[in-house]
């Protein structure tokens, strides 16, 4: 290194210091902003929760399905499809036929489990899937980017995707979209059972409950400890204990809000 290059060296040293200081401040500010952006946004009022927390937190909606009563007629699916104009090829409540280890065959209707610890909700990159305070897990189709990570994450195969533009009816199109009553349907987003949140607002039972001729599906409030199929009201905790109620894939820790009563019991 020659003498003449000394000043250049010092100057570079100084500008480098300035640069590093600037970089540290910049990165720090960016980091802090990112960390607190959600809080900031909420504080300013552009709440990321927006309409989402509007549901009454007094309620905690749950479902109970009595497999002993289910005869696999799939009227629940039909009622659901009609109620929500569900696009063809989708089922928001699917009825599986199951055979147990003794060869006994029974039917298993599966709506969305509205998990308390929902795997789909965790993975959503944009918060399109959210959980209301009453425990209902909804999808905001205006925000969903269609990455389908939630579909990969759901252990119950609940979610369906609009692979193409769904066919529309004038009645469906006349409705104003909101996550609690998610139609008109649109291409490129993920759909699923929404526990008939729009009917609960009116004090109505879900479409599948009303559509079940066997009265096998019950809907109600965990806080009240009561569920009803429209004909009778059961005390949930007592029924679950007496009839050995269970949930699907309990071992995963998803804490579903849908309970089942076994198909074979006394």
């Amino acid at each position: 290194m020659s003498e003449s290059e000394e000043p250049e060296e010092q100057e570079m040293e100084g500008s480098r210091r300035r640069f590093i200081r600037l970089a540290v401040v910049g990165v720090g500010a960016a980091g802090i902003t990112t960390l607190f952006s959600s809080k900031l946004i909420e504080a300013v009022g552009f709440s990321r929760g927006d309409v989402r927390a509007a549901a009454p937190a007094r309620r905690q909606w749950v479902m109970l399905i009595d497999l002993k009563k289910c005869d696999g007629c799939r009227k629940c699916t039909e009622a659901c499809n009609t109620e929500h104009f569900v696009p063809p090829g989708q089922e928001w409540i699917t009825v599986y036929e199951v055979q147990d280890e003794f060869g006994f065959r029974y039917f298993l209707p599966r709506p969305c489990m509205h998990c308390e610890n929902a795997p789909c909700l965790k993975v959503c990159p944009v918060g399109a899937t959210f959980r209301r305070e009453d425990g209902v897990v909804l999808v905001d189709h205006r925000r969903c980017i269609g990455c389908r990570y939630c579909m990969a994450a759901c252990p119950y195969d609940v979610r369906a995707f609009n692979w193409s533009e769904p066919p529309h009816t004038p009645e469906e199109l006349a409705h104003t979209y909101r996550p609690e009553a998610p139609w008109p349907h649109r291409m490129g987003v993920v759909e699923k059972c929404m526990f008939c949140a729009h009917r609960a607002e009116e004090g109505e039972l879900p479409a599948c409950v009303r559509g079940c001729p066997m009265d096998a599906i019950y809907f109600g409030d965990l806080r009240e400890d009561a569920v009803s199929n429209g004909r009778e009201v059961l005390r949930l905790s007592e029924t679950l204990r007496r009839d050995h109620g269970f949930r699907l894939k309990e071992e995963l820790g998803t804490e579903p809000r849908v309970w089942y009563l076994p198909a074979r019991r006394d």
Partner: protein
Amino acid sequence: MEPDVSASDAEILEPLRRTTWRFYVLLAGLAAVVGWGVYAYSWQLREGLSVTGLTDRVSWGVYISNFVFFIGISHAGTLISAILRVTRAEWRRPITRMAESITVMAIVVGAGFPLIDLGRPDRLMNVFFYGRLESAILWDFISIFTYLTGSLLYLLLPLIPDLAVVRRSVALGRFRSFLYTRLGGRWTGSAVQKRSLEKSIGLMAVIIIPVAISVHTVVSWIFGMTLRVGWHSAIFGVYFVGGAIFSGIATILIAMAVFRRVYHLEKYITPLHFRNLGALLLVLDLVMIYFTLSEYLTATYGAETRDVAWVRILSTGPYAILFWGMLLGGLVLPAFLLVFRRGIAGIVVAAILVDVAMWMERFLIVVPTMMTPQMAFTWNLYTPTWIEWSITAAAIAGFALLYALFSKLFPIVSIWEIQEQPAPAAEPAATEQEAVA
């Protein structure tokens, strides 16, 4: 001051001076394939993802496999230039540029696939407006953008002195003259500049290694964080990083063979480079065999119902041929080739096998897990459509196209780095003949 380009480096600059008609034919061919892919994608944009073979049960397929594959390939640059630089493996010098440019191009092509896979690409900006750090997709966005930025810097820094060489020795048109001046016009080759360049490259080499590891780990976590059989496994991070470096080395070997032949770089890229990288490929091959064994033995020995269902689909399902092909043709056979056929031809064949097998491995990670039933008790089937294959072909062609163009704009061998190489790593002529034979 800057040493003049000796006549001996003329071969490196030759592709920048002259372009044969064959090159234009190649460009046209690659561009046609890319154009076909764009046409296929426009079809998909109009009709929705229904034009793919994807269904509600197998909702990720070829696009996501391509994403994992190309991001994996991108680890070529990191390994060659960063790890070998940090460990002062001097033989690396002639191949650093090739490796670093693979990294940048593979990230660009790979990062495109999650976007092609989106149901609503028009809402991509929601990731910035509403991004949730809880989602592994956000981790991916962040790490891939960091990696791309770092790799671009890491490609650009060692280019700067070469740009000065090119400006002095090649007659340039206005575009290239503008480009080179913007990218490295202030390079004089003074001792101060050289020292800060060396420092910056050294620093970037250290920074880029953890960034690269994080990228493929996070890609694996997209799968690993779910509760699905075949994905929910702690080996996924290292398995993906291992596979990434493995396929990265294979890709750089193929690139070396092509450039050596087409641009007559035999003097720079010698059998030594093939042998050294071949040895690294063998090491990674053994590592991958070890990981694969660990993964499947752990899954099958305990014989949990879900694990058994998944392994059965892999080994006897519709993609069993890929599974066995990947294991035998892509892991075992290359190992034999690398041990017993140590000439350039044998090593390059092994590299091609490895790259094909690693694509299959990515596909086998994504698809059979989604085929494994979670609720119903039948396999969910998936057959990719011509749209998916066209876009895949376009991606490969696009990668080659970017690479070909890059080699016409910049010296594909780093001139100043080989000039500064301390000891000549030249091979005796006899070895070369033996290796070729």
